[in-house]
C-alpha cells in the first residue's frame, strides 16, 4: 500500500499551530495571572490606603491608570515609576503634570515608595489594568416575602384565627339553642326529667367546697396578675425604637470586633457614655462607602435593610460628597433616639463603673454585639441596681484611693473582699443626692 504522507498536511499544520498557540497563550496568561496576583497583594498593602480601583478616595481611582495616562498626557510607564517612587521629588523638579495632579487633589501628598522595584510597579499596573468584573447577581430571596414583616403577619394570622374560632363557637352555641327549642316544642325532650338531672353548672354551684376553692383560686390569680401589671409600670425592658439610621451593632461590634469604647469613648472618662459624634463615623466611613456584596445581601434578606443606603444617610448628615471626597454641604445632626433612660433624680456615672470598677459593657447592656437593633436589656430599676451592688466586690486592685481603707478593713474583719453595698453603695445620697 502506498504511503500518503501529505494528505492532510494543511490541517495538520493548522492543528499544530493551534496547539502551539494555545500552549503559549496559556503560558502568557499564567504569567499575567501571577503578575496580577502579586500586584493585588502589593496594591492592597501599599496603595489601598488612599486609592480604590473604581471610586475616588484620598487619591484618584486607579483602574486603567496607565492607559488613561498614556491617552490623555502621553506619559508612559517611566513617568509612573518616578511618580510612585518619589512623588514629592517629581513635584519639586517642576514636572508640569506632577504639579497639576498635586494641585488638583488639594495638595495631598502621596507617600513615596522607594522600596518598590520597577517589577513591583509593573505588577501593580497589571492589577490596575484589569477589566472590571461585575459580581454575579444576588441569589433570589428564599421563601419570598420580606422577613422583616414576618412577625407582624403571624400576629395578624393569630388574631384572625382567634376571631374565627370565636365565631364558630358562638355559631355552635346558637345552633344548639335553636335545636333545643325545637326539641322542646316537639316534645322530644322531657323537661321534667331534665330538672331532675341538674346541669354540671348547677351541680358545681351547689357544691360549696368547690365554689370556695375556685373563688380562692380566682382571687389569688387576679392578685398575681394585678400585682404583675403594677410592677411593670415604668419599666422599659425590651424598648426597641426605630432609629433614624439603621445602625447595626452586630456588624460593627460583633463582626468587625471594634471595641465598645472606640465609639463610646466618653464612657471611660465621663458620667455620660455619649453617642459618638459623626466624625467618629467618618474615621472609617470616609474609606468605606459600600459594604461588601455578601453583607449587603445579608442585610436585605435578613433585616430588609440596604446597608449602602444607610451609609448614604450618614454622608448626607455630615455633608460629605463621596465623589469629590470633600465635605461640601452643611452638616445636620442625626436625631438618635435614646433607649436607656433614667429619671432625672438618679445620678449614674459611667466612668466610675467602667474605668474604676471595670464592669463589662455586656453586664448591663446585654450582648450588644449580637443586636442588629439595640433593645434595652436590663430593667434599670432600683432593685436591679441594688442587687448588683450587693453581689459585686469592690475593685481594690491597683487603686491608691482604696489602699488605706482596704488595709484597715482587712485587719478588722479578716476578709479580703468587700461588696459594694458594704462600702456604702446602698445609701440614698450616693445615687439620689
Amino acid at each position: 500500500m502506498k504511503k500518503v504522507n501529505r494528505r492532510n498536511s494543511i490541517s495538520r499544520i493548522l492543528g499544530t499551530a493551534l496547539a502551539l498557540m494555545l500552549v503559549f497563550s496559556t503560558v502568557a496568561f499564567a504569567q499575567d495571572e501571577a503578575a496580577i496576583q502579586a500586584g493585588e497583594k502589593l496594591f492592597k498593602a501599599n496603595c489601598a490606603a488612599c486609592h480604590k480601583m473604581d471610586a475616588m478616595s484620598t487619591g484618584p481611582a486607579l483602574r486603567g491608570v496607565e492607559a488613561r495616562l498614556d491617552e490623555d498626557e502621553g506619559l508612559g510607564r517611566e513617568w509612573l515609576y518616578k511618580w510612585i517612587k518619589n512623588s514629592s521629588g517629581l513635584i519639586k523638579s517642576g514636572d508640569p503634570y506632577a504639579v497639576k495632579v498635586y494641585e488638583q487633589y488639594n495638595k495631598r501628598q502621596m507617600t513615596a515608595f522607594p522600596t518598590l522595584s520597577n517589577e513591583d510597579i509593573d505588577n501593580i499596573l497589571a492589577y490596575t489594568a484589569q477589566e472590571k468584573t461585575t459580581p454575579p447577581p444576588p441569589p433570589p430571596i428564599e421563601g419570598g416575602g420580606v422577613p422583616a414583616e414576618a412577625g407582624v403577619s403571624t400576629q395578624v394570622v393569630l388574631v384572625a384565627l382567634i376571631v374565627l374560632f370565636g365565631l364558630l363557637a358562638l355559631g355552635l352555641i346558637l345552633v344548639r339553642k335553636t335545636l333545643r327549642r325545637f326539641a322542646i316544642a316537639n316534645g322530644t325532650i322531657n323537661l321534667e326529667e331534665e330538672i331532675k338531672r341538674p346541669s354540671i353548672w348547677k351541680a358545681f354551684v351547689q357544691n360549696q367546697f368547690l365554689v370556695f376553692v375556685t373563688t380562692v383560686f380566682f382571687l389569688l390569680g387576679s392578685a398575681y396578675f394585678a400585682y404583675g401589671y403594677l410592677m411593670q409600670i415604668g419599666i422599659d425592658q425590651g424598648y426597641e425604637p426605630i432609629q433614624p439610621i439603621h445602625y447595626s451593632h452586630r456588624i460593627h461590634a460583633g463582626v468587625n470586633k471594634i471595641e465598645c469604647k472606640y465609639c463610646h469613648s466618653s464612657a471611660r472618662v465621663s458620667k455620660h457614655s455619649g453617642i459618638p459624634s459623626l466624625n467618629v463615623c467618618m474615621n472609617c466611613h470616609k474609606n468605606i462607602a459600600n459594604v461588601s456584596d455578601d453583607v449587603k445581601q445579608e442585610g436585605i434578606t435578613q433585616y430588609g435593610v440596604d446597608y449602602n443606603k444607610e451609609i448614604e444617610k450618614l454622608y448626607e448628615a455630615v455633608g460629605w460628597d463621596p465623589a469629590q471626597q470633600e465635605y461640601v454641604n452643611e452638616p445636620k445632626p442625626v436625631k438618635w433616639i435614646r433607649i436607656h433612660n433614667l429619671p432625672d433624680f438618679v445620678y449614674f456615672n459611667h466612668s466610675q463603673h467602667v474605668s474604676v470598677a471595670g464592669v463589662e459593657c455586656q453586664t448591663c447592656h446585654g450582648e450588644i454585639q449580637e443586636m442588629e437593633i439595640v433593645a434595652q436589656h436590663s430593667p434599670l430599676t432600683m432593685g436591679w441596681c441594688i442587687n448588683c451592688h450587693r453581689e459585686t466586690n469592690v475593685n481594690f486592685k491597683g487603686n491608691a484611693y482604696y489602699e488605706k481603707i482596704h488595709e484597715q478593713l482587712k485587719d478588722k474583719y479578716g476578709v479580703e473582699a468587700f461588696k459594694a453595698a458594704e462600702m456604702g453603695a446602698l445609701e440614698c445620697g450616693k445615687c439620689h443626692y
Binding site: 492592597k44 498593602a45 501599599n46 496603595c47 489601598a48 490606603a49 488612599c50 486609592h51 478616595s57 484620598t58 495638595k107 495631598r108 501628598q109 507617600t111 513615596a112 515608595f113 522607594p114 522600596t115 387576679s222 396578675f225 401589671y229 411593670q232 409600670i233 415604668g234 419599666i235 422599659d236 425590651g238 424598648y239 426597641e240 425604637p241 426605630i242 468587625n256 470586633k257 471594634i258 471595641e259 469604647k261 472606640y262 469613648s265 472618662v269 455620660h272 455619649g274 453617642i275 459624634s277 466624625n279 467618629v280 474615621n283 472609617c284 470616609k286 474609606n287 468605606i288 461588601s292 445636620k332 445632626p333 436625631k335 435614646r338 433612660n341 429619671p343 432625672d344 433624680f345 433593645a375
Partner: protein
C-alpha cells in the same frame, strides 16, 4: 348569662392591660414627677435656644467661642497641612515621662483605638485589615514614613489621608501615652 358577660369584660380588660406594652414606645409611667429633667442634660434636644451655630437643630451642645482656652488644656499649635506635619515631625517631643503607669495606659488605649486597624503589633495587620474591610495600613517600621513621636501625635490629632482625627476620643495626655506605646512597637518591629 349576665355573669358570663361580666367575667368576659374583666378578662378582656386584663388582656388589654397586659398587651399595653409596645416595644417601640416607652412604657407608661405613674405620676412622673421628677422624671423629666428641668435643667439641661447633655445631648438633649432643647427647643428655643437663641444662639449658637446649631441652634436651629435644637442641639443642647454648643461650640465654645473661637480661641478660648479652658483650664488644664492648651491648644495644639501646628496646622493641619503638609508643612505642619513636617514641622511637628521634626520639632515636637513627648512631655510625658516613661513610667509604668503611662506604658500600661498607652497599651490599653492603643488596644481600644488603634489595634483594630494597625494590629496589636503595629504591623498594619489589625482585624479590619485582615478581613479586608480597610486596606493599605502601613507598618510602623515603614522606612519611608519614618514616624517620630511628633508625627505620631500630629496624625492622632488631625488624621492623615484616610485616617481620621482621633482627637475627639482621646485627650492630650492619652495621646502622648499612645505615642509612647507606638514607639515601643516600632522599636520591636525594627529589631526583627
Amino acid at each position: 348569662m349576665k355573669s358570663l358577660i361580666k367575667i368576659g369584660v374583666v378578662f378582656g380588660i386584663a388582656l388589654l392591660l397586659t398587651s399595653c406594652f409596645d416595644k417601640s414606645q416607652p412604657n407608661y409611667q405613674y405620676f412622673p414627677n421628677m422624671y423629666e429633667s428641668v435643667g439641661y442634660e447633655a445631648y438633649q434636644e432643647v427647643k428655643g435656644v437663641p444662639y449658637g451655630e446649631y441652634a436651629k437643630y435644637n442641639m443642647e451642645a454648643q461650640i465654645p467661642a473661637d480661641g478660648s482656652v479652658k483650664r488644664g488644656w492648651m491648644p495644639y499649635e501646628y496646622d493641619d497641612t503638609n508643612e505642619g506635619y513636617d514641622a511637628a515631625k521634626a520639632e515636637l517631643t513627648n512631655p510625658l515621662a516613661e513610667t509604668e503607669d503611662n506604658a500600661a495606659k498607652g497599651k490599653e488605649l492603643y488596644g481600644l483605638y488603634c489595634a483594630i486597624c494597625h494590629g496589636n503589633k503595629g504591623d498594619g495587620q489589625g482585624h479590619l485589615a485582615k478581613t479586608e474591610k480597610f486596606l493599605g495600613i502601613p507598618s510602623y517600621d515603614d522606612a519611608v514614613r519614618a514616624i517620630t513621636e511628633g508625627s505620631i501625635y500630629h496624625v492622632l490629632m488631625y488624621g492623615r489621608n484616610n485616617m481620621g482625627s482621633h482627637a475627639s476620643q482621646i485627650d492630650t495626655k492619652e495621646r502622648w501615652q499612645v505615642v509612647q506605646h507606638v514607639l515601643k512597637l516600632k522599636a520591636e518591629l525594627e529589631k526583627k
